[in-house]
């Protein structure tokens, strides 16, 4: 539990979910919907993509495709973090809940904190950390939703601005390789162009092209 309180990222997460709650309110979703999305989806970027695509009139299929593509990044996270929790006696089903909790913040924190935890207690530790963070996020979602409903426009706008700020900065902080930095910059730059197409999957178009260009530059530099 102390780990939940000690991480700076918890604060960022709190701010992000305040923003998600406010966003859900302003795009006319119910509070139960917003809370269920936090507990079930448990991935801030996916929730924002879901809320903003559905809110801007995309169909369920278009939203599902955008979310599916954005969620691919969870796969390498799960693959890289689970070996840290395994012992020879561990069965797959013991890891299902821990796997559900894996998202950007928990992934980063696992790499930082798990080495200090005895191996046989790591799954329990991850469950505790996951549930603690989830409780923080549910509180923030409800609070953000309520604030957006009741606050003057200026403060509601400030809460909505938390989302892009927190995501931009935490992504920038996680950028280690040239490909990551290029993907972030190109992704920002290409979206306004792609949005002129009005396809409903503009984010996918700009994301896949920017990501592929960034990867291409990375691959080309490796060959040099």
């Amino acid at each position: 539990m102390r780990s939940v309180g000690s991480t700076v990222l918890t604060l960022v997460l709190f701010a992000t979910y305040l923003g998600i709650g406010a966003l859900a309110h302003d795009t006319h979703f119910s509070l139960a919907w917003a809370l269920a999305s936090t507990a079930l989806v448990w991935a801030g970027p996916a929730q924002i993509i879901l809320i903003s695509t559905l809110g801007s009139g995309a169909t369920v299929v278009q939203a599902a495709i955008a979310v599916t593509v954005s969620a691919i990044r969870l796969f390498p996270m799960v693959v890289s973090v689970l070996p840290m929790m395994r012992t020879p006696q561990t069965k797959r089903r013991h890891l299902v809940l821990a796997t559900h909790f894996i998202a950007v913040t928990l992934w980063v924190e696992c790499f930082r904190l798990l080495p200090q935890v005895p191996r046989e207690r790591r799954i329990a530790f991850t469950h505790g950390l996951g549930i603690g963070l989830c409780a923080v996020c549910l509180t923030a979602t409800a609070l953000g939703y309520g604030l957006a409903a009741n606050l003057p426009q200026l403060f509601a706008a400030a809460i909505l601005l938390l989302t892009p700020l927190a995501f931009l900065l935490s992504t920038a902080r996680n950028c280690r390789q040239l490909a990551d930095i290029l993907a972030l910059v190109l992704g920002l730059a290409l979206f306004p162009l792609a949005s002129q197409l009005h396809t409903g999957v503009d984010i996918l178009i700009s994301g896949i092209s920017a990501g592929t260009i960034a990867y291409g530059v990375h691959a080309w530099r490796e060959r040099e």
Binding site: V67, P76, L154, P192
Partner: protein, 114 residues
């Protein structure tokens, strides 16, 4: 109470378009994990695309702002985020300093405009 839940159709959409697409990748990672190399080229591409999609979402909120954020003029939204990013870089990548600075810039700008 019905206000709290809203409509059930929306919750179904949440499961189909929100929950399943995420859970599929997590469970695939659980089942297939081990066979994939952390540093493999495929994963670098996947990460680049995921980062760019997230960047697109950030851009979308700023360019086509939802709800109350639409009441803030374009230049002030972009300026506030730029100020936040500048503070982030100046403080050796402190997310907290960047977020606070961006927020203060926007609120101050809006207040000054009246």
């Amino acid at each position: 109470m019905s206000d709290f839940v809203g409509d059930w159709h929306a919750l179904l959409v949440l499961v189909i378009a929100g929950f399943l697409p995420n859970e599929v990748w997590r469970m695939l990672g659980l089942w297939l994990g081990g066979g994939v190399d952390e540093g493999s080229e495929l994963l670098i591409w996947v990460r680049a695309v995921a980062t760019a999609i997230l960047a697109g979402v950030i851009a979308q909120i700023l360019v086509q702002p939802p709800g109350a954020l639409a009441s803030v003029p374009d230049w002030l939204r972009y300026g506030a985020v730029a100020a936040g990013f500048a503070a982030f870089m100046l403080t050796r990548r402190s997310i907290f300093a960047g977020v606070v600075c961006g927020e203060v810039a926007m609120v101050a700008g809006k207040w000054w405009l009246g």
